[in-house]
């Protein structure tokens, strides 16, 4: 049942490193952390009655990317015309409450964390705060780690940001 504490520590370190790459805008390095068959998705939330079923609409996605489209997003940020991120957002990814469970495959682990992203732009002190339940599958590959699947469930039904030109 339990995961070896050493493995858990490695995975935590991996996720903190990943957050650092995002906050330092090292996207070309960040994308390398994703497995070739990775998926990156964020389903939408709606406001529903408590007993009326899940408030996550699985067919509706804010992000629905594979490794290839995720890389296109990174490439886009590398062009001179990605106005949404030029000047860039100042982001800070807070990755907490990390829970690690064994995955379906021997070399995979299910990792769930609470994610809080602070985002500020321009010369105003205004900021967006995006809070999410993040669910990853991380895979041991050649002694390192890759993200095989990422699911970001935002804690908002109306996203409180004028766009999502950042990664979560």
């Amino acid at each position: 049942m339990g995961v070896d504490p050493a493995i858990k520590a490695e995975i935590e370190e991996f996720l903190l490193h990943e957050a650092e790459l995002l906050d330092e805008r090292r996207f070309e390095e960040w994308i390398e952390l994703f497995a070739e068959d990775a998926r990156y998705e964020a389903p939408m939330r709606v406001t529903k009655a408590r007993d009326a079923g899940p408030d996550i609409v699985e067919e509706s996605k804010i992000f629905s990317d594979n490794r290839e489209t995720l890389y296109i997003r990174v490439q886009r940020l590398g062009t001179e015309f990605a106005w949404a991120e030029d000047p860039p957002s100042r982001t800070r990814h807070f990755v907490t409450n990390i829970r690690v469970q064994p995955g379906d495959k021997e070399n995979e682990y299910r990792v769930r964390c609470n994610l809080l992203v602070y985002r500020n732009r321009g010369d105003t002190p205004d900021y967006d705060l995006l809070s999410a339940d993040r669910q990853d599958i991380v895979r041991r590959v050649d002694g390192g780690w890759k993200i095989a699947y990422r699911r970001i469930v935002l804690d908002q039904s109306t996203v409180g940001s004028h766009n999502l030109s950042i990664f979560l």
Binding site: T47, D65, T69, F81, W83, T158, N163, L164
Partner: protein
């Protein structure tokens, strides 16, 4: 029913600006101030959103009896519901007893609504039928017929449900005034029309609804710059050199407008699957087929704040790709602030793989994290912040592009069709129409 009509009067300053617009706009000038101003916002709430047909929902969002969604017209929360007989209705989402919000879930199914404050209960037709202690304390004197949920007029066109707060407004048909001919391109891709894919994206942004509505009324001008990355990564089947080709059409005096971008040499109905192309030959008129088969980009605004974009797109640049259609409502929630509602609609009769791929294309390009969407909102929020400054508010913007262009007399569709795709004729009509509404007491 209380009607939003002529209650708020503009200050002398705003009135003179609006009056000046009557001559100024056709001559190619629009005051910067209209794009972010508290007084203009308040006046619009009554004079634009209190009078125009405002988009509420797609019929496929409420397919069965009792299905409902919550939407807005101005700052009014509206229940849009299909009643037990299958008729689409809209009610103000407010209990008549003390004003509590009746429905709190944004979607659900109910034959009756029971208020959580004192328990007043309404049929989904709006009729009040249950009042706790009606016998014991009201002594049956309260006339339930007097206290139905406040009804809102609804009319539909090919699956689109619109509401109107003004009982004296013309019919939706008259309001659209021929623009239906163009809407058919989006809404009649087959005998069963369209359906929404999933639930709409929603987000907020500090921008004025008019900036967005204008952009979608045919601003092909911004594409090669604002979305230059798309050309750079090979996303567009057009090049910046030919991007201006096509035609822009508006309905005079109504404010509706569409830009139809063409790419020389593009195969007819490029990007649609064969099933849909075949179906369109049946559902569209030969004149519509003649025009739309040549169209790459169809981007329109139904005045005031509903926009629709149809675009070929492949998630991986250079591949054939599909068409996606996004329908967006720029819902004003404050001066220079909107709540954005964005749907993807797909042909109901299309194969599932096409619907899925179309939705993925929409998500990558124009959803809340869409790559094209991102840059638009960046520009629009910055612009909105600029125009409220003390210097900016007295300035005007030039709307002169295409002043000397002549309409194409051979164009088969309604309205005024002015080639090419890129110019500002549509916008001049839009802001003249806006000023006309804003000046009406």
């Amino acid at each position: 029913m209380q009607v939003l009509k002529g209650r708020r009067q503009p200050s002398p300053e705003v009135r003179s600006m609006l009056e000046a617009m009557v001559d100024m706009v056709p001559q190619g000038r629009v005051p910067a101030r209209i794009f972010n101003d508290p007084e203009v916002f308040e006046l619009e709430q009554e004079r634009i959103f209190g009078r125009c047909w405002v988009f509420l929902a797609h019929e496929s969002e409420i397919p069965s009896p009792g299905d409902y969604v919550l939407r807005y017209i101005a700052n009014n929360s509206i229940i849009v519901v299909r009643d037990e007989e299958g008729k689409v209705r809209a009610h103000l989402n407010m209990c008549r007893h003390r004003g509590n919000q009746v429905c709190k879930a944004e979607m659900g199914n109910a034959s009756h609504f029971r208020c959580s404050y004192h328990g007043w209960t309404y049929k989904n037709t709006g009729e009040l039928i249950g009042v706790p202690y009606w016998n014991e304390v009201y002594h049956r004197r309260l006339d339930k017929a007097e206290w139905a949920l406040v009804p809102v007029r609804v009319e539909t066109y090919n699956g689109l449900i619109f509401g109107n707060l003004d009982p004296d407004a013309p019919s939706l048909e008259e309001y659209l005034g021929g623009f239906q001919w163009y809407l058919d391109f989006y809404l009649k891709p087959g005998p069963n029309g369209t359906e929404v894919y999933g639930t709409p994206d929603k987000w907020v942004a500090d921008t004025d609804w008019k900036i967005c509505a204008e952009n979608f009324a045919g601003d092909g001008y911004h594409t090669p710059v604002a979305h230059a990355f798309g050309f750079e990564l090979g996303y567009f089947p057009s090049s910046a050199r030919t991007h201006f080709e096509g035609v822009a059409v508006h309905i005079p005096g109504k404010g509706h407008a569409i830009g139809l971008g063409r790419t020389p040499g593009m195969p007819p109905f490029f990007g649609f699957p064969p099933e849909v192309v075949e179906a369109m030959q049946q559902t569209l008129t030969p004149e519509q087929v003649q025009v739309f088969s040549q169209v790459r980009t169809a981007v329109c605004t139904v005045f005031p704040n509903l926009s629709i974009l149809l675009q070929p797109f492949s998630r991986i640049p250079g591949q054939p790709g599909v068409r996606f259609v996004t329908m967006r409502l720029w819902h004003p929630i404050g001066p220079g602030r909107i709540q954005m509602w964005s749907w993807c609609i797909v042909p109901k009769d299309a194969p599932q793989w096409y619907k899925d791929e179309s939705y993925l294309a929409y998500t990558l390009a124009f959803g809340a994290a869409g790559m094209f969407e991102q840059d638009d909102f960046e520009n629009w929020t910055n612009l909105t912040r600029q125009v409220k400054s003390t210097l900016a508010r007295d300035l005007v913007f030039p709307y002169e592009m295409g002043m000397d262009l002549e309409p194409d007399p051979t164009f088969p569709g309604p309205g005024v069709a002015v080639p090419p795709y890129v110019h500002e004729t549509n916008f001049r009509n839009m802001w003249s129409t806006w000023a006309k509404y804003m000046l009406r007491d």
